[in-house]
Symmetry: C2
Subunit: 196 residues, 2 copies
């Protein structure tokens, strides 16, 4: 069990829960994937988790997202271990080999401070999840923060939930973490743990 000082227990935001779970599983030298780079905060977080001997692969279809992320990583001095690809996360399997990845993070929806009509879509998100599953090492995890507020979000959330409800329970366990007493529909966190 690694240091857990940094991330609050029972944090309000499910993105913090996602980071917390990742932090418990990733060690220096591991390979991780940020399937939805966005403004790069999860990429930066993963780059810290894997240390100088590890690798992080990041994907985004928006060049502006990759530019912002590159800038953030340069400022933090962590670009050396990060490989950014201007490609859809649905193709992530072509860049990585099976059973090599310790964590894959998805943060669905639109690019914050970007074009809110450019959103992740059910079909490509499911393709990306299908591609990510065989990449996981034993004790590896996938985290998916799925939104329900923007147009098209509920459809994607439902697709992800149905897909993850049906994956092999002899190899993977899928947890769903939800905040109940909120007026607006908050995001939901899915955590896939390859336990065997």
């Amino acid at each position: 069990m690694k240091n857990m000082e940094k991330i609050e227990i029972l944090p309000q935001r499910l993105v913090s829960w996602a980071k917390w779970f990742v932090k418990q599983h990733v060690s220096h030298g591991d390979i991780c994937v940020d399937a939805t780079v966005g403004n790069g905060f999860d990429t930066l977080f993963l780059a810290e988790c894997v240390g100088s001997e590890g690798k992080v692969y990041g994907f985004d279809i928006q060049q502006s997202a990759l530019n912002n992320t590159k800038k953030l990583l340069i400022e933090a001095g962590l670009l050396d271990r990060v490989y950014l690809f201007h490609d859809s996360h649905s193709h992530l399997g072509t860049y990585l080999s099976n059973s090599t990845v310790k964590a894959v993070m998805f943060n669905l929806g639109y690019l914050p401070r970007g074009d809110h009509t450019l959103i992740t879509k059910p079909e490509t998100t499911i393709q990306a999840l299908k591609a990510a599953l065989p990449l996981l090492t034993t004790n590896g995890i996938i985290t998916v923060v799925s939104y329900r507020g923007h147009p098209g979000a509920i459809e994607e959330y439902n697709s992800v939930k149905v897909f993850l409800s049906e994956i092999n329970s002899k190899k993977y366990r899928v947890f769903c973490i939800d905040i109940l007493n909120q007026e607006h529909l908050p995001p939901v966190l899915f955590v896939v743990h390859r336990y065997r």
Copy 2:
């Protein structure tokens, strides 16, 4: 943040998650409640968490449950800090004062190895939750393991979910943790955190 070595991260059983969350919040000297003593395993766990200066209040309507629990606590040498009541958890408010309790654990359903037709019921469970909420100190938590398999279980689960979805979000945050990819409906864990 306290020692977290003992409880596995992403454990298969949601009762272990419940214990994990409680362990993160309870310190020596705290007052805790086992609202559904059963065979006493959560009572014993809470008695360890609160230390010799703490107190644990346990409730059950079945005398056999209380007898088993007392035996377990004597064997562990921890009966000194535990107060057992042969009463429904719906009355727990009469034994405790507001804003004094750090954790309340509920494990609903029937007594394992007991009479499976004697089950917790929606009305009394909701009354018990209503009684437990004002008892919580700031940063206190309630954990509820709710089943969906036995006759009457789904009705109770739905009642608990609806009730917890409507509690004051300015004071309490309610998390719901669910395992998705299982053939049989597994239990669900609700965690209520008084954050203010």
